[in-house]
């Protein structure tokens, strides 16, 4: 149980970084941390005690299949990692452009529009 809870702690830490920090690079790092937390959470869900990686080797008996960990969460996390990488590339390019316009990474200096 504690494992799930620690994943949630990690996620809220990322969220805190997003809310409290003014530096836009720090905000990017907050999102990266949140991604890590969710990925770990999903993989932990699929873990089976004493489990092995779901890869069949030649000559493996069918009985071994019961020891495989859940492959589906791994497929989800693979997709989620890719999405995280894509979002990061987009975010960093936005940061670079914002720096070019404003000469700083400070969100309170960048912020001209008011929600």
């Amino acid at each position: 149980m504690m494992v799930y809870f620690l994943c949630l702690v990690l996620m809220t830490m990322g969220l805190y970084c997003l809310v409290a920090k003014k530096n836009i690079v720090k905000k990017v790092l907050g999102i990266v941390i949140m991604d890590y937390a969710v990925n770990l959470y999903i993989i932990v869900i699929g873990y089976k005690t004493g489990g092995v990686a779901p890869i069949v080797e030649p000559g493996m008996s069918e009985g071994m299949y019961a020891r495989f960990v859940d492959p589906l969460p791994q497929a989800l996390v693979l997709t989620s990692i890719v999405i995280g990488l894509g979002v990061l590339a987009l975010m960093v390019s936005m940061c670079v452009r914002l720096y070019e316009k404003h000469g700083t990474f400070d969100m309170s200096a960048i912020s001209k529009l008011r929600g």
Binding site: A53, I55, L78, V82, L85, A89, V92, S93, V96, E100
Partner: protein, 151 residues
Amino acid sequence: MKGMTLIVRTITDFVVGFIVVFGTYIVLYGHLTPGGGFAGGVIIACAFILLLLAHGKEVAFSKLGENTAHFLDSAGALVFLLLGWVGMSAGWFFMNTLPRGEQFSLFSSGMILPANIAIAFKVGSSLFLAFSALAIFRRRSFRAVIEEELT
């Protein structure tokens, strides 16, 4: 952009080939061992990024030109989509209709191997492109912006 010191460049030349070979292995054996098109593609992209960082952009672009990378980026995605569409011949999108081959051999499991290769091309070239765009991007001076506004 400039490259790095001689030591870095020499070691880069030595290592890049191995990285590409390792990436290719990860891609091709994705259906038998851990790995796959995505991880292998990132490794191959890292090899070219290493070249870019160590030697500067001319050398890196001479190995993988910008136009080629753009082409591979779109073409890889398109090939993957078409592989899915091939399945429509059997009635369902993404149905694996290609011959399955023999278990545990490299050329087995139908669509999976070509799909892995297509994804690897797509991922490798697009990440290389994105990184090169980020690395080359230069902030124009404030004066240049002002002059442009005035004209």
